[in-house]
């Protein structure tokens, strides 16, 4: 498990001991192409990282069905809503390849942050970086810059 965790950017600043503590709350989830990983509206309780494969994130648009907005690849995370209190999934995640995910329960992760503030800071710092990048890339995507 520690080997798999090392490949995740979110955790790349952690030392061995810290990784072990994360490993203790982590589990593996395997899904097949087309399987739903999390469903829009469902309770958001775990943050996931892609160890293998690819997941698409889609929002349902009435009349148009599921509209994929981005994909998440190896080393990347999805489901940061799980770190927010009483959150629900805002989008559906679906495997577009056979995929292996590492699941970290949000509540357990937050407990770890409390016990080890340093670990919490390091992971949250990377989480923030990921969110900022993802937001920035989304702006660019929205610009539809290849149109002309």
């Amino acid at each position: 498990m520690k080997q798999a965790l090392r490949k995740i950017r979110l955790l790349c600043d952690l030392d061995d001991g810290q990784l072990e503590r994360i490993a203790a709350i982590a589990s593996i989830e395997r899904v097949k192409t087309g399987d739903i990983v999390v469903e829009e509206q469902g309770p958001a309780n775990s943050i996931r990282a892609v160890a293998e494969g690819r997941v698409s994130i889609a929002v349902s648009v009435p009349g148009r069905g599921e509209l994929p907005v981005c994909t998440v690849s190896v080393g990347e995370i999805l489901g940061w809503s799980a770190l927010l209190p009483q959150a629900r999934w805002l989008a559906t995640a679906r495997a577009v390849k056979d995929t292996t995910l590492i699941v970290l329960r949000g509540a357990a992760l937050l407990d770890l942050y409390e016990q080890d503030r340093e670990l919490g800071y390091r992971v949250m710092h990377r989480t923030f970086e990921t969110v900022a990048e993802r937001l920035h890339d989304t702006w660019l995507q929205l610009m539809d810059s290849y149109r002309q």
Binding site: P68, C70, T71, V96, D137, L140, S145, Y146, Q148
Partner: protein
Amino acid sequence: MTPPPAHWLERDELGHLLALIRGDGYRLIGPTVDGAAIIYDEIEGVDELPVGWTDEQAPGRYRLRRRDDDAIFGFAVGPHSWKQRLFPAREPLVQIRRDGDDIRFSAARADPPPTAFIGVRACELAAIELQDRVFVRGPFVDHRYAARREACLIIAVNCVEAGELCFCASMGTGPRVGPGYDLCLTELDGGFVVEAETEAGAALVQRLDARAAADAELTARDAGLDSCRQTMGRELDTEGLPGLLFGNLDHPRWTEVAERCLACGNCTQVCPTCFCFDVKDVSLLANAETARERSWDSCFGQDHSTIHGAVFRPAIADRYRQWLTHKFASWTSQFDASGCVGCGRCIAWCPVGIDVTEELSAIRSQDPKPAIELPRPQVWWPREDDPLVPAPARVLEVQPETPDTVTLVIERTTAVREEPGQFNMLSLPAIGDVPISVSGSGEDFVEHTLRGVGRATKALSELRPGQRLGVRGPFGSRWPIELAKDHPLTLIAGGVGLTPLRSAMQQLAANPDDYPAVRLFYGARSAADILYDTELLAWDSLPSCDVSVTVDQASRRWLGNIGFVTRLLRRKELPLDGRYFICGPEVMMRQVLFLLDEAGVPKSHRFVSIERNMKCAAGFCGRCQYGPYFVCKDGPIFRHDHIDFIFGQPGF
């Protein structure tokens, strides 16, 4: 060099000189009073010269006034310059004849009659010499301009009185006439000192009743020139000016002057060195015949910088800055000389009296930032072919790529093999020509992938096999593939930005020994917009290549990556010794360059492809200017560190 022997010509003999020149078959063009100004027009003799007239000039002001004497050349310069004669405001470049599917293109010839320019001032001769640099010193020759230039005899005049707006002494172009004339006159009391520089000039002097000039006359000439030099109405400190201007692109003065400037373009029209032009097709005889014509254009016009509806210099401040940075800075990189000769016309004829010397000294004196280093001028090998005349070529095949994009396979018309990154100008009668990058080529064909979005690309994309179009090129710089040997190479493409990289990719894929580690990151709008899909798959299957594709918009059926192309890059190593070729919309390239900055990849390892408005592709029309560069001849492929001071700068 010993000065040419000087002669003395009595005042009354000037008529004789003009008659001799006419007798030799020359048409005379000289200064003459027309209404309220002294212009250059066809004359027959001395009577039509502005005898006893002078001009009073001030910012935004030009008036004729009677002199107290009957000096013949006792004025400075008017609204006309010799540019009208050598580079007419409107002229045909190419005649196009269409007969069914057959198209023939032929160069419009100038066939100029021998013409004598009477009364060319030092600054004006310098301006002619500057336009020679644009039109005949390479890489291409404008044959119409060159023919007119050959056919002219230059009778120059030294200035012994300076105008209120003159600053030729600061620009190093006057008041003494520099090389390039046939005869040079200095008007003094009672007559002229005459100097001949060419054989034609010397032969004229021989036939005149002119004696050797006396020392006193030569002293008077030099005194006249000296006093002129000392009484110049304007002055300009040119020391380090190019670097200073480009170091101060955000100087507040640009906005201040823009509040006064009307963007009327008068300054560029009267300037004897401005050379920008537009090209339009004018159809006659129900489209069977078309004349491709050029007409003067101005960097103050909106169209000057517009491509695909995007205006690169939307604000007046951008345009004023373009005019001044071009004239006083970019010229030095482009043509190894300032673009200003100090004639003062742009000051007199500006309706609101904007004075370039004042604007430039304001930038120098009000808190300037340090100067930056500008590129050195390139040396071009002259090419003899007429770059503006297309060759007819047959469409061999049309391959649909996406709903609005096709690849035209066209028969090869030149022996010159296109290099990846270069472009051709493709043209249709009555529609005009557009730059399209080369997406592939072989022994006897060239491929161009184009999206039918504008009028011209739409018409081109509707061509059928067997039909003809015009091709001229190849033009421009190429991807420096050889620099990537023994280095990991990453190609990053967005949208149709893949087309100029495709031929590079073909070469790279075919030479795995030299290029063992090639990656292509490609962002497309949607799955339906992905170009060359079978080729992408084939490249990806090679051990030496790795292809990743992402789309901005997708349906559920798409199982690949979704997200902007930067998302692909964030997932990968960006090796510091790698080489990077980037092509796509500028906003995309900018973001990619940020990521490479973050990764610490040196700017000298990155190459980008720049797109700007182009009309001629030969360095004549000025439309593709990009700071100190021309995209058509210095680009379209630039090394990032060569352009980083303007890349992403609004207004360039």
